[in-house]
Symmetry: C2
Subunit: 418 residues, 2 copies
């Protein structure tokens, strides 16, 4: 008898909860009487087109494997930057050919806006071609910029890392009596959600961050210096949280406009924080001021050791429910999270049409940005708080984490899973 | 009746375990029938000389305060960069005057090499002056470079953060098929212990770091590029761990020699990792190679959320036993940790003479550095493993840490504690 298979692939940038989503999908798929093999494509759509397909059902054996995969950061199946070319009809034809070769009836793509666009177009193509294959999206992005969903899997863990780290960095800056200005740069080029999460550091009992700059508001350098000077006149140690994507009214990214920082016209290397640091050094006019620019680097998206257990659970559920939806005949959709209440925190899972999600970007609402674009509102804090909650959830051996790693080179041929 | 008081102060750079040490000292002091008030100096010796002295016994009320203080990173009493000037006899006279004014019979200084030098000189002065005041050192440094002690409080937590973060960053670098070289820069200007701890990332099941460069070995740029090229010929994603203090055979720090990175003779901004990144970009000759320099920044010393519970416990014990030693009439000593066995991990606490510790730097032994200075030995791993162990020990509220903060402005006058 012919077998019915599902395939899952991952795309976009890493997060520490992304593998919780595929764990949910794999668990539901392996437990389904309608699915024989759970397959995975290596390196997203790019690897799929190269037929780099592994049999996940063969590689996950024990319940410990599932536990480890949930806690493993960054795409366990690899990612890709591949985008299907515009009007690439023949590519969709190729995709369908591979899907049919491997008897894949359910296709899942775990990623952000671009990935949802791919699933959207593939689902349309499958429907128009009369193929009985379901294509479903599983949301993932630390940027929290997907439409229709209250928030995105991965965001809560990144937000927890940012808030915790900003609070700890602040305490570090306060130990010497000399004045100090620290600028912490946070990911999110177009949407400021993750930078906004730095405000939760105040829940740790510290006054930081003193200023918060999101990319939703045009950055005004002279207003910035005025704020910094006023703050330093009042307290010796200040911390500023800034999005990597802040830009002036003309749309020039600050990270690209470091030229003034140097009298010889050399550009400042590094990102927005480095440019702001140079600006403060040059303009703040505070004797003995110590400045420091800190980039939270890729750890803000990969620090599984600081993952929110709420986020991991929701990420798992999104994967799990994507498989249920597909098996029930749904396609061209993405699983969404709807918030019922903040306190107690209650959500329900729903589905959104990919037409309404693909290629759209949800930004921070203007009325959640306050104090002339230097802070976020109480509504924002109420929104953020439940997302970072939960106990630290780690699987440690002698104090160190362990990870699940697929054997990505162990690809299967179609006849092995038919 | 006249009261007998103890005073504790902190110095040097922050760590996430430094307040566990003062918690141990405070707990022992408050429980001692020989001590009436536990006092604290704000901003180390500098604040002490300015009589910025608080009454800790008045500010710590509940057992939760003690729990929170253990888990609070970075000097809760503040630090200072103040060093007593050479031959500053009159300064020691001033110190003794303040000690007597406040009826302080036991003086504790929590810090690294420089701080131990201060305690050493103060203890000598007190003895020569015939004063019955004990001066005892409590070790602290993420650099692990103090003599006579197997390791230093604070090191294990920083090591755990470094190993965990390197493993997570490595997974993040592997998700795209394109080749990538990532350089992670780690603190420790003269001693490579913390950089060596990056090798524990391999215990998480990843091959990173592929190369490890400590400041104990002169850095050879051409050998480095040869190693990088050979590695990239074999595998697409490599991670290099490097101490901030690597230098060439002439002693020039790499962080200061970025001049070649740019054809116009501009220096590369940033540290050693940025210089190595530029070097790889220029010389490695690998098409489409993605490079990234990551500085673990102050989080490696402040990330209490990743503290080793073994380290926190030992740090607490060092403070606790310092008070016991002083009350038993010991002075001019530092509490040390002696290792009895690796597996099971057993230590005992001892005391070391400050004459043998002050101003000395314990470096990584040459025979623990292997593979032509690009890796560390199995002995190093055996040494490191127990230090990072333990469960994550946090006090969370809704997923975020809370900290204990003294009211550092609430100073007391001598007559209030006499």
């Amino acid at each position: 008898m012919t077998k019915t298979n599902m395939l899952i692939a991952q795309s976009g940038g890493p997060s520490s909860a992304i593998n919780a989503s595929i764990t949910g999908a794999i668990a539901r798929g392996m437990a389904s009487t309608r699915i024989d093999n759970v397959l995975g494509a290596v390196n997203g759509m790019q690897g799929f087109l190269e037929r780099r397909i592994i049999n996940i059902s063969d590689q996950m054996k024990t319940s410990e494997d599932f536990d480890l995969l949930i806690h493993t950061p960054a795409h366990a199946l690899g990612s890709s930057r591949y985008k299907i070319p515009k009007g690439g009809k023949e590519i969709y034809g190729q995709i369908v050919e591979i899907l049919k070769d491997y008897n894949i009836k359910y296709f899942f793509y775990n990623g952000g806006n671009d990935s949802m666009d791919t699933v959207n177009k593939l689902a349309d193509f499958l429907r128009d071609a009369g193929e009985d294959i379901m294509a479903v999206g599983i949301p993932k992005t630390i940027d929290n910029d997907l439409e229709l969903t209250d928030h995105t899997p991965g965001f809560g863990s990144a937000a927890r890392y940012v808030a915790t780290s900003v609070a700890e960095v602040y305490l570090d800056t306060t130990v010497y009596p000399a004045p100090a200005a620290t600028i912490v740069e946070i990911m999110g080029r177009n949407a400021g959600w993750l930078t906004a999460a730095s405000a939760l550091a105040r829940d740790c009992g510290v006054p930081a961050p003193h200023l918060i700059y999101l990319p939703e508001v045009d950055f005004d350098a002279s207003a910035f210096i005025k704020e910094v000077k006023a703050l330093l006149a009042k307290e010796p140690h200040i911390l500023i949280a800034v999005s990597e994507g802040i830009h002036d009214a003309q749309g020039n990214y600050l990270a690209d406009t470091g030229a003034e920082a140097d009298m010889f016209g050399h550009k400042t290397l590094g990102g927005a924080a480095t440019v702001l640091e140079a600006m403060i050094k040059r303009e703040a006019d505070v004797p003995k001021l110590k400045t420091r620019a800190i980039q939270l680097s890729t750890l803000q998206r990969a620090a599984a050791h600081c993952a929110s257990s709420v986020d991991l659970e929701e990420s798992y559920q999104c994967g799990y429910r994507a498989v249920e939806a597909a098996v029930n005949g749904m396609s061209d959709i993405m699983i969404t999270i709807a918030r019922i209440s903040d306190v107690p925190y209650v959500v329900r899972y729903d589905v959104g049409r990919l037409d309404d999600i693909a290629n759209k970007e949800k930004k921070v609402p203007a009325d959640w940005i306050v104090r002339d674009g230097t802070d976020v509102s109480a509504e924002m804090l109420r929104y953020l708080r439940p997302l970072v909650a939960g106990e630290t959830s780690e699987l440690l051996t002698e104090g160190l984490p362990r990870f699940f790693r697929f054997d990505l080179g162990r690809t299967v041929m179609p006849w092995e899973v038919k």
